[in-house]
């Protein structure tokens, strides 16, 4: 810490800069140290300020809608810009259903990938496999959307949805006309997008499980799967849960790919074939065209809700991951 040192300061004040170069240098570098500290501190404060600005702007810009509708905003299903009536229920519903669907599809896959990479794959295959799955995370969401429109949606419409309707139509989840576009398409594309996040966190927490755990279980005569289940997965479960929740956070806030395939209709339907709408996609579609202060304010309120939910979800996830990895300062030591 750059604490003030009165002695050096006095010397500078008396001597000026000419007579005693060493002492003068001490004064100069102290000043520079102080300046550097404050400059870096300012950068750190910037991070705090950004979050403060986000919170302030979201709250102040959604004030109008909050006063008009109150908490009922999230329980009304009417979204009618012409008559200035706004309710966010269809968007909340669409976001929750598409994200949960994504989790149901993605979690088993991500766990399988993580288990294979950390416990089963030969050593030479681990690096390339991990890199390849992480490439999935580097693909921009708009490209997922593009691919979904031209490949996934036709595939669903022509093959998957008729099949689901024939064999599982009785559940009521797969009724109605198979458009291809709709909740199911959104859930699948989201699942593809969140697999890398969940599996990379899972890999991290599984690596944090001490090697002795594995050896101990194996020494008792367990098969490899029994070792993974009792020795690794059970020890890492809190962290895996954290990874899953982190994936949920990503799915909730995901915008472009969902907007491109969910169908964009503000309705609540039981069937997964039906078009829906999500919180992020209604903002994406209508924000720049929103005329009228109340309309804009309602959209910002949807954004505020999305912000609060994703923050809570992320904090829970980080806490869970931390409970597993905290005792292992040296990563990869095991």
């Amino acid at each position: 810490m750059p604490g003030p040192q009165p002695i050096a300061k006095q010397e500078v004040a008396v001597d000026g800069q000419v007579k005693a170069p060493p002492l003068a240098q001490v004064g100069y570098s102290q000043l520079a140290d102080r300046a550097f500290y404050y400059a870096m501190l300012a950068c750190g404060l910037c991070v705090l300020a950004l979050v403060a600005i986000i919170v302030y702007q979201l709250i102040s810009k959604s004030n109008l809608s909050w006063h008009a509708f109150g908490l009922k905003f999230f329980f009304r299903s009417e979204w009618d810009p012409v008559n200035d009536q706004y309710g966010a229920l269809p968007f909340v519903y669409g976001t929750i259903v598409s994200s949960l669907l994504a989790l149901i599809l993605a979690v088993p896959l991500a766990l399988g990938v993580a288990v294979f990479i950390t416990e089963m794959a030969p050593r030479w295959l681990r690096g390339p496999l991990a890199f390849t799955t992480e490439l999935l995370a580097a693909i921009p969401s708009v490209i997922y959307g593009l691919w979904a429109i031209f490949v996934l949606v036709p595939l669903l419409r022509l093959y998957v949805q008729p099949w689901l309707a024939r064999y599982f139509g009785w559940t009521g989840l797969f009724g109605g006309f198979p458009f291809g576009y709709g909740m199911l398409a959104a859930g699948i594309i989201l699942a593809i997008m969140i697999v890398p996040i969940i599996s990379s966190i899972t890999r991290e927490v599984m690596t944090a499980v001490p090697q002795q755990q594995r050896e101990a279980v194996l020494a008792l005569g367990a098969t490899r799967w029994e070792m993974i289940r009792t020795g690794v997965l059970r020890n890492a479960r809190a962290g895996i849960m954290g990874g899953v929740i982190l994936g949920l956070g990503r799915a909730l806030g995901e915008t472009m790919a969902v907007t491109m395939v969910i169908g964009n209709r503000a309705e609540i339907a039981r069937s997964l074939f039906a078009p829906g709408y999500s919180m992020a996609s209604v903002i994406a579609n209508e924000f720049s065209e929103a005329t009228g202060d109340l309309y804009l304010s309602a959209l910002v309120e949807v954004g505020l809700a999305l912000f609060i939910v994703t923050i809570i979800v992320n904090i829970i996830a980080q806490f869970l991951v931390w409970t597993v990895t905290r005792g292992n300062p040296a990563r990869g030591h095991a």
Partner: protein, 295 residues
Amino acid sequence: MPEPAKMLSGTTLPPISLWRRGKNAVATLAAVGAVILVLLPLGAIFAYLVYKGVGSLNWAFLTQTPKPVGEAGGGMANAIAGSALILMIASLMGVPVGIGAGIYLSEYGQNRFGDLVRFTADVLNGVPSIVIGIVAYAIVVLTQKHFSALAGGVALAIMMIPTITRTTEEMLLLVPQTVREAAYGLGVSRWRTALSITLRTATSGVITGVMLAFARVAGETAPLLFTAFGNQFWNWKLNQPTAALSLQIFNYAISPFDEWHRQAWAGALILIVLIVASVSAVRLAASRGTLKGAN
């Protein structure tokens, strides 16, 4: 322990039952199946991108602006330039602040306040990009009364900062404390040590973080929708609506025209090549970097 040798020889161990071996085999198969199922869409996306994209790529695509609906030809030159402009603005604002905050956390941040900054950076990292778009709209577009490249750059800069901050901190903390002490011992001041010794040693790691942040925002679309907004023509002014590659892909993908679909694929191919190239370069740099422990 009279006869350890006999125990180790294993003759007394009962054989593993068929049921347990069966479960083991099923679990192994399931894991392999999951890997295949995950790699399948990845392969499909890349194959389709190359197949569709290469066919639509030509010189006009790289040099011309979009043609009106119904006319064939035209390209995304202005969108590529617009993306470059927006990313440059974002980097100019985001990189110094991010690195500065990272230095603060690693060199001065081992206290309560540092923890607060760390936590806030993680929170900022999790904010959905569309929400950042709303905020950039509120602070830049509303005050300027214009959609603009600047607004898009601000939105992307906000997204870059937390990633850069956290990776910079992580990389600087990998530099051994003894290196810093050696510098202090030679009478080097604290700020010179931080910049010329610590940061210098961790350069490759810090660059990795910067490139990852860059790759992450390069394909972002949602925060640009109502900040940069898009433009069918050339624009180099910071306070005017500006085209971006990702926006153009989005607009063309949801349009009903075949010609535009073709161009969307070509644009997507260019975007992905840029991103994968930067991510791979980062991997390479990190594996050959001065800090082997960095990855």
